[in-house]
Each structure stands twice: as C-alpha cells, then as structure tokens.
C-alpha cells in the first residue's frame, strides 16, 4: 500500500491542483474537412475534486483528456493547471490511458519505473516503485513481461505507473473498462481510498454510470459530438459510499435520462 512513508516529512503533501478549462473547442482535420469534436467546453475543477465525465462513445472525452494532459494544444480556448497555462505534458498531470499501452520490452517493474527514470529520479524512487506495485497487487509479477499479463493486470500496471509519480492531477480514461466486474469493484474501492488518502485531483472518463456515481464528487454529462457540457451534477454523498444507497439510484435514473435512456430504466 502507498502509505504516508512515501511523502518526505519536511514537505507535507499538497492537495491536488485545480484545473480550469475555459471555452475550449477542438477539431481534427479529416480529408480536408474539420471534424469538430469539442464545442466550447468550460469546466472548473477544484483542487482535490473527483470529477467523472460521461458521454456517448466518440463524443470527445478522450480528446478532452489529451488536451488536459497537454499532449495537444486546443484549437480554441485556454486550459490551466493551478492557474498556470498548460503548455505541454508534465508529470504533475499523469494519464492512465484507455489502452494500458505498456512498453512490451520492459518488465512490469521497469514499466512502473518509466516516470522516475524519465524525470531522472530513479535512484530515490525505488521504494515508491515497489509500493506502487504492491498497491495494485502485482509485486509478484515485477519481473514478468507485459505479454505474460492478463488485460486486467496490464491495466493495473498502467495505474501503478501513473501513481508512482505522485501526480497532482490523475487523469483516468476508462481505466477499469477491461477488468472483470469483481476486480472492478475492488479497484473502485481502492481508487476511492487512494484518492482520499493522497488528495490528488481526479478526472475520470467512464461509460459506467454507477461507477461515476460511486466514485465522483461531480458527474459531467457531455452531449453527442461535438461535445459540450450537457449537465453538471454534484454528488453530495459521503464516502465510503454504498452501492445500495437509494440516493445513488435516484441520481443514476437522472443521469441515464440525460444520456438518452429514459423511463423504463
């Protein structure tokens, strides 16, 4: 488990950073025409908030995450982390991609070590790496290669690879999508306790309404492409939450309605 021992005593953990997304629009050139993907999206995320993004497939959620990560500049609009404009990728904002995308030539442990290695902090980070591996329950697979892992295990390695950087903003693109329902429920609980302990800001894209409601402070519902914010629903329930909570069921009905699944649900 990642525990308080990770943090150096003289530098107490700062809570996650705020995110400001202002009037962001984005389009892709496709065969000479422009495919509008994001349409004037504005979103303000407070430090340490857990925000879930929901929306139809292909509406532009992953694209928004890429902009937040700094992998691409937006066509229009501004993005800022903790008040500073986002100009490029930075390990303070780490992404767990929809696909685990592990480096197949690196063992599990060396995959987790990519962040510290790239930032030149590998020596100091050995213990963190082991802790991150333990956190996702893969200590015993430290020396395995990605092709020897199941899909769910690979996704957990990707999660460990992100967490080891101690990010201010953790960006999660359907990180649990490939897990079986049991592991998924366990990982959801792990994610909540991790987030509560570490205090980072979390942005989670998911297709699973229940997951969004179980994890997040706020659920943002996007429209069809080009995506704009259709609804911004606060989830004011205390943690740890219970899946059977009737207030969750009510919220679930509301969100499904916004996604176009009315009535008989």
């Amino acid at each position: 488990m990642v525990t308080a021992t990770i943090q150096t005593p003289e530098a107490p953990r700062v809570a996650g950073a705020s995110l400001d997304i202002e009037d962001v629009s984005h389009g892709f050139e496709l065969d000479g025409t422009v495919l509008e993907v994001l349409d004037d999206v504005s979103l303000h995320v407070a430090p340490g908030e857990f925000v879930a993004l929901l929306g139809p497939s292909g509406c532009g959620k992953s694209t928004l995450l890429r902009l937040i990560a700094g992998l691409e500049p937006p066509t229009r609009g501004r993005l800022a982390e903790a008040g500073r404009p986002i100009a490029g990728p930075n390990p303070s904002r780490v992404v767990v991609f929809q696909d685990p995308t592990l480096f197949p030539w690196r063992t599990v442990r060396r995959n987790v070590a990519v962040g510290p290695e790239a930032q030149g902090t590998l020596k100091q980070s050995q213990q963190r790496i082991d802790e991150a591996l333990a956190l996702v329950g893969l200590s015993k697979f430290a020396k395995a290669y990605p092709h020897q892992l199941s899909g769910g295990m690979a996704q957990r390695v990707a999660l460990a690879r992100a967490l080891v950087n101690d990010p201010d903003v953790l960006i999660l693109d359907e990180p649990l999508g490939k897990l079986d329902s049991l592991t998924r429920i366990t990982m959801q609980a792990e994610l909540v306790s991790l987030w509560r302990r570490e205090g980072f800001t979390a942005i989670l894209v998911t297709h699973d309404v229940e997951e969004a409601l179980f994890l997040a402070n706020r659920v943002i519902v996007f429209s069809d492409r080009p995506a704009h914010v259709k609804a911004d629903i606060p989830v004011d329930l205390p943690y740890p939450r219970h899946r059977g909570d009737p207030r969750l069921a009510e919220l679930r009905r509301q969100v499904l309605g916004l996604l176009g699944l009315d009535a008989d649900w």
Binding site: G88, P91, F97, T101, P104, E117, Y145
Partner: protein, 342 residues
C-alpha cells in the same frame, strides 16, 4: 493472488509441451539400437577405406580410416552403455539417424571416388583428400579463414552501425529524411557488386575496398528496416512517455529504438546474407586474401580437394554467424513471445 504466485519467479517460462510430457515413459531399452547401427555404418566407412586399393595417391587414407573407426567405436560404446550415460546417449539418440545416413554417404563416397573411380577425378576427390587439406595445409587455410572473418566483421559492423544510425535519424528527423531518402532510394537498390570495379581502383587497398563493399551491402537493408521500424512505433508509446516527463532523448533511446528493434534484427538478418555473397565475390575477384581467394587459387591449380575443404569451412562460418545473430536477437528481444528458433 495465490493462484498465480507459481508463475512469479523471474520470467515465467512458456510451457513447452513435448511428446515426452504426454506419452508415458517407456522403460529405456537395454541398448540404443539406432546408435549401434550408426556405429556399424561408421565401421563400414573405415572398412571401405581400408579394404580396397586407392586408385590415386592419397597418403591420408589410413588416418581417415582410423578416425572413422574411432568414431564408430565411440558410437557403439555409447549405445551399449546408454543406460548409464546421460548427455552423450541423448545426443546419440537424437543424431542417430543422421549418423547412419552420413556413414552410408561416406562409404559410398569413398567407394565411388577413391576405390572404384566411378566419379571423374580430380574433380571429385575422396574424403581423405579433404582431411589431408585440413591436416597438411592448415596454416594457409587458417590464414585465409582469419582474413575472411576479419574482412566480414569489419564490413558488417561498419555497415550495421552506419545503417542503424542512418535509419534512426531519418526515422526521427524530417530534415534528415529530406536529404537522405532520395539518395537511399537511388543508390540503395544498386547491388553492391556493381561497385566492385570502381571500388578496387578508388580505394587505396583491395582490403579497404572489400570493407566498403560489404559495409554498403549491409548498410542498405539495415537502414531501411531500422527506418521503417522507427516509423511504425505506436505513437501511443510516445504519449505515455511524454506525460510521464520524457524528453526527446528518452523518447529516442528508450522508446523509439527498443520498439524498432525487432525490425532492426530483420534488417541485420537480411544484411548478413547479402554481405556474405559480397564477401565471397570480393575475394574471388580482387581481395588477395581470404577463403574466396583461397578457393580461386585452388581452382587455378586444380587442387579440388582444397576447394571443397574451403567451401565446407565457409559454410560453417556462415551458419555460425547466423547462429550468433540469432543468439543476440534472443537476448535483446527476449521480451517478445513466439520467437523462431534456429
């Protein structure tokens, strides 16, 4: 996670079932019959060498017969003691059929060439003539082997390194691609042999010309395959690395190159074949040392046994080089599944 812990130590080896795992073990026979037959076949080799008069002058006939007899005795001993021997008897078990066929082949060769004169001499000398070359002309042959290996090593290494660096730079940098790509397209497909006449007067020595030709033949496939390997790297790898704080140095050295390595090895294998053919051509036509030169000289003098002896050595060297490259690949690409075994 106890169910998976058994796979945890090191790199779990892929389970490779062989017939032996599936079929219940049969009690080992008292003697290895195939091994015995192999021994008999090799006694036939010795006997055929001794039994009849040679039709020519081959002083090494008794040596050859003795060597064959020794091998035969060895096979029979291992076959008889197979219950108590480990590695040697397993080897004999696996190689047995081949040894029988080889024994028959050598017997037939001996009879057809040295004893009955069925094949035209001196073009098809008997095996003892080859043995004679290895035993009595070893200094000259060894010198040629060294020269060839040295030339090949220099040429191939220079070509491989240059090709790799060129491939990485044009795969990574648009500007490098702008300048190098047209040259590569124009010159690359030209067979290295076409440079031969120019190379031999443009270079100060035939040796450096040979290195140039071999390097050229190696460089082109390595460049092209490295380049295509770099271009086909999944861009998501770069995204991941960049969000984790990687800069271009890390992206090139620790993402692009490892990801392209399987392609690079394909290029190295292709280059090995072409570079060997260039080596031999260069030595046959201009370089005054090496196995090609040795063969050329042997043919000129009508020493056909030397020709075959050198050819055999060349085959061993080429096959050894391929094995080495496979070993290197297995080491560097151990993370890949389903590697072809050599």
């Amino acid at each position: 996670m106890s169910d998976i812990s058994s796979r945890s130590e090191g790199r779990p080896a892929a389970p490779r079932l062989t017939l032996a795992d599936v079929v219940p073990a049969v009690p080992r026979p008292l003697v290895d019959v195939v091994g015995l037959v192999a021994g008999i076949a090799w006694f036939a080799v010795a006997a055929s060498a001794l039994a009849l008069e040679d039709v020519g002058d081959w002083p090494r006939t008794p040596t050859f017969a003795a060597a064959a007899g020794l091998l035969a005795a060895g096979f029979i001993a291992v076959a008889l003691a197979s219950r108590w021997l480990g590695a040697p008897s397993r080897w004999l078990d696996r190689a047995g059929l081949w040894l029988i066929v080889l024994g028959l082949f050598f017997t037939l060769w001996q009879l057809a060439s040295a004893k009955l004169g069925w094949v035209p001499l001196p073009f098809f000398p008997p095996p003892q003539a080859l043995l004679e070359v290895y035993l009595d002309d070893f200094p000259r042959l060894g010198e040629s082997i060294l020269a060839s290996v040295k030339l090949q090593l220099w040429g191939y290494s220079i070509g491989a390194v240059a090709g790799f660096l060129t491939g990485v730079s044009i795969g990574w940098s648009q500007r490098a691609a702008y300048w190098v790509h047209p040259v590569l397209r124009f010159i690359g497909p030209l067979p290295a042999g076409a440079w031969l006449p120019i190379a031999f007067f443009a270079f100060p020595s035939s040796w450096s010309a040979g290195i140039f030709l071999i390097a050229l033949a190696t460089g082109f496939p390595v460049t092209v395959l490295t380049w295509s390997g770099i271009l086909s790297v999944n861009p998501a790898y770069y995204d991941v690395a960049r969000t984790l704080g990687a800069r271009s140095r890390f992206l090139v050295l620790k993402v692009a190159i490892p990801a392209a390595l399987p392609h690079v090895f394909v290029g190295l294998f292709m280059a090995l074949g072409t570079s060997f053919s260039v080596l031999v051509v260069a030595e046959l036509l201009g370089v005054k040392a090496g196995l090609g030169f040795y063969m050329q000289a042997a043919q000129g003098w009508g020493d056909y046994a030397n020709l075959y002896a050198a050819l055999l050595v060349l085959a061993l060297i080429c096959s050894g080089a391929v094995s080495l490259l496979f070993a290197a690949r297995d080491r560097f690409l151990s993370w890949q599944k389903d590697l072809v075994t050599w």
